[in-house]
Amino acid sequence: MARFLWLIPLALFAGLFVLMFGGLGKPQQAVIRSHMIGKPAPEFALEGAGGRPGLATADLVTGKPVLVNVFASWCLPCAVEAPQLQALKDGGATLLGIAVRDTPQNVAGFLAKHGNPFDRIGLDTNGRLLLGFGASGVPETYVIDGRGIIRYQHIGEVRPEHVQMLLAELEKAK
């Protein structure tokens, strides 16, 4: 018993070592996924922008799944993902936009430059709606089913390899 006791510190260190070894090389910034998946989208009603009508919760409950893209004119990755959004639209998706901490002029300028795939755009001037979705940043893209339930969250910009996956998620949400 006594001899076994002297081994405890070594064993504890071995445990710590394994834990730290496993944690090595993991990204610094944790990715915090939304916990709203499977729950109804938050209640909101936003003014329109970029020549599109505004966006409200009712617009998400249309009987068919939609994509909600969170973007901003000041966000560079949002410009990067513009062609992919267009590809999603061409693939038959309905895109609804939420412009975060933005002004109508800047949104209009951004869309003129990078294209406007959105049917509706809501202007979230203070960024509070982001919290309602459980979003951790901009850009993000959500799949909402026909009953207004959030089905899927994509964090970061949509890259070419994500287009098919998002279309498949839309299909799943039907």
Binding site: P27, Q28, Q29, A30, V31, I32, R33, S34, H35, M36, A72, W74, C75, L76, P77, V80, R101, N126, G127, R128, L130, L131, G132, F133, G134, S136, G137, I155, G156, E157, R159
Partner: protein
């Protein structure tokens, strides 16, 4: 994650497309409500920062979260309800207070458990 890293790089590389600075905080007019709001803020974790509470952060999203906290406190919610609202949307990570559950039992029992183990070892010594 890689996309996030690239996004960060891009954001740094092109300072001309900067995020607008967050608007100034507007404290609640009732000092006791403001104090309750502050207490909640100091225990909520900023999503876009490195281990900072939203009370201490200058990030835009932290500002939005502070506004949300103040609005909810002003509407009469108690601090626990406000915290729960955030946990519902972002999970336990967003609260600096770890939940009291099965998977955190060891964490919360630790102080007494460690003292008990230590006492047992010491007692063994005294008996001898």
């Amino acid at each position: 994650m890689r996309s996030l890293a690239i996004a960060l790089l891009l954001a740094v590389a092109a300072p001309s497309v900067a995020e607008p600075p967050p608007p100034p905080d507007v404290p609640l007019s009732d000092p006791s409500a403001e104090a309750r709001a502050r207490a909640v803020m100091s225990e909520l974790r900023c999503l876009t920062c490195q281990n900072q509470s939203i009370a201490d952060s200058g990030a835009s999203q932290a500002q939005a979260m502070r506004t949300e906290v103040r609005t909810r406190i002003a509407a009469g919610e108690d601090p626990e309800q406000v915290r729960a609202w955030f946990v519902d949307r972002y999970g336990d990570w967003v609260s600096f207070v770890p939940p009291a559950r099965e998977d955190t039992a060891l964490l919360w029992a630790a102080p007494l458990l460690f003292l008990a183990i230590g006492l047992a070892l010491v007692a063994r010594r005294f008996r001898r």
